[in-house]
């Protein structure tokens, strides 16, 4: 029961509290991608719905799972590392261990499970918001009509792209939570080192995300 409560708390902290930043970033990415794609597709031989086809595939394959993962690593990764790092240097982790509690499973496991549950949901939300951002930007600027945009979203849709995005989301969420927890849990020293652990957690998570992104693309799409 304790672990269920801890996991729910982590879901709120990692997922719910990231909603604002994910929403803002997704809508703007969608808007900018639509306008930039339209800017590059100037030929009269290319139908305008191709803009939303490009936006859709970029969103599903890369923008939502990967770019949001980088944002997620920055927000959640630094949060996890600094929280655990502070607990380590203020002997709170030692206090748990002296009580006979497995500090790793008590502190780290709920974060990893919470991340595995919430990040894929954030990615799904981001996909919708990015496409909606593109729709809004296209309509407002007039680069693509709403009818063409919606037609393009459905044109030759490949379902596997969503599955691929979910696989990436699960892998990235595990990487961010586990790397950041490791960096925070094994912090030694004082406040300065907590900051260093937090920075190292974000840097290492971002590198791991990019490597895994390439590996998964090669493995599943190559």
């Amino acid at each position: 029961m304790t672990y269920v409560k801890l996991t729910i708390d982590e879901c709120i902290k990692l997922g719910y509290n990231s909603l604002f930043i994910v929403t803002i970033v997704s809508v703007f990415i969608g808007a900018v991608t639509t306008i930039q794609t339209a800017y590059n597709l100037v030929s009269p031989f290319i139908p305008s719905y191709v803009i939303s086809v490009v936006v859709r595939d970029m969103t599903l394959l890369e923008l939502s799972p990967t770019i949001i993962a980088i944002i997620y690593a920055g927000k959640v990764g630094s949060n996890i590392a600094s929280e655990l790092g502070t607990m380590r240097i203020t002997e709170q982790i030692d206090a748990l261990e002296v009580m006979g509690i497995n500090a790793t499973s008590y502190l780290v496991l709920p974060k990893i499970i919470g991340s595995l549950i919430m990040y894929p949901m954030l990615v799904i939300l981001s996909m919708f918001l990015t496409l909606y951002g593109g729709y809004l930007a296209g309509s407002i600027s007039g680069v693509i009509s709403s009818t063409d945009y919606l037609y393009g979203l459905r044109y030759e849709f490949i379902e596997f792209n969503v599955t691929f995005a979910m696989i990436k989301a699960i892998v990235f969420s595990f990487l961010v939570a586990s790397i950041s927890s490791y960096k925070g849990f094994f912090t030694t020293g004082g406040a300065l080192e907590v900051g260093q652990s937090s920075t190292a957690a974000v840097t290492s998570s971002c590198i791991a995300i990019l490597c895994a992104d390439y590996g998964l693309a090669q493995l599943l799409l190559g």
């Binding site: 502070t86 203020t90 002997e91 709170q92 030692d94 206090a95 261990e97 002296v98 009580m99 006979g100």
Partner: protein
């Protein structure tokens, strides 16, 4: 009773503790004293299992804690209460939740029983009406007392205190010392206190182990600590003018 046998610990090439043996008696306030950097806290961490010694054994009432299996170590740890130097209260929990924490994790008590026990322990350390305060909202002395309440809430057989007086004013220090002594007598537990505070030594030091450069060089009580001829100990004990005045030699 806690018995330590031939404890040694090094970090890289630096020897921190060398061949330390001794007995911490039940119902007594046992003190580990020494100057800063002499290995007191490292010895305490070896005893409670936060650091594994390179050599030697720690026996809790005859049970080999150092080389025992995981179940034994967990069982012994659940009989331990510890007050950390900075209190080590959980920042995200209020005072009540901090004190209740061991009960939530280690017992099957009902919420009513837990609340009753928490309030009893908080009253025992003379803290009232602070249940809902966060650790950041209370003073250093109060944090120490909440730490003591958390350490005794699960009725431990062994109580460890790592520098309970650090950062406290003399009056609060004496209050904390007396509290530790009272709790030791009241519950008849084995208490081990790491300190370099001479007031604590004189007030509550029923059994004292003096460490110097990683070695145990003296053992005795607060009655005979001022009577020794050991130079290292005299330098430690009579470091202040006040001590020289009180105990002229």
């Amino acid at each position: 009773m806690i018995e330590i046998k031939h404890i040694s610990k090094s970090f890289a090439d630096k020897v921190i503790l060398e061949d330390i043996s001794g007995i911490f008696e039940k119902g007594k306030t046992n003190l580990i004293i020494g100057t800063s950097g002499t290995g007191k806290s490292v010895l305490l961490k070896n005893i409670v299992g936060l650091i594994h010694p390179d050599a030697g054994d720690v026996l809790y009432d005859g049970r080999d804690f150092t080389h025992g299996n995981k179940e034994l170590q967990t069982q012994v740890r659940r009989e331990i209460g510890m007050l950390f130097q900075g209190g080590a209260l959980f920042d995200s929990k209020n005072v009540e939740e901090n004190v209740m924490f061991p009960l939530n994790i280690l017992t099957t008590m009902t919420m009513e029983e837990k609340l009753e026990r928490v309030n009893f322990c908080l009253e025992r350390v003379n803290l009232e009406n602070v249940n809902k305060k966060m650790p950041s909202e209370i003073s250093g002395g109060m944090k120490k007392r909440v730490g003591i309440a958390r350490a005794i809430v699960n009725q431990p057989n062994y109580l460890f205190c790592d520098e309970p007086n650090s950062g406290l004013d003399p009056q609060t220090s004496i209050r904390i010392d007396n509290l530790i002594k009272e709790i030791t007598d009241e519950y008849d537990i084995t208490t081990v206190v790491v300190t370099h505070d001479m007031n604590s030594v004189i007030e509550i030091g029923e059994k004292i182990m003096f460490l110097h450069k990683g070695h145990k060089v003296w053992e005795g009580s607060n009655q005979d600590i001022t009577q020794t001829d050991l130079d290292e100990l005299n330098e430690f004990v009579f470091a202040t003018r006040l001590m020289k005045k009180i105990f002229p030699r």
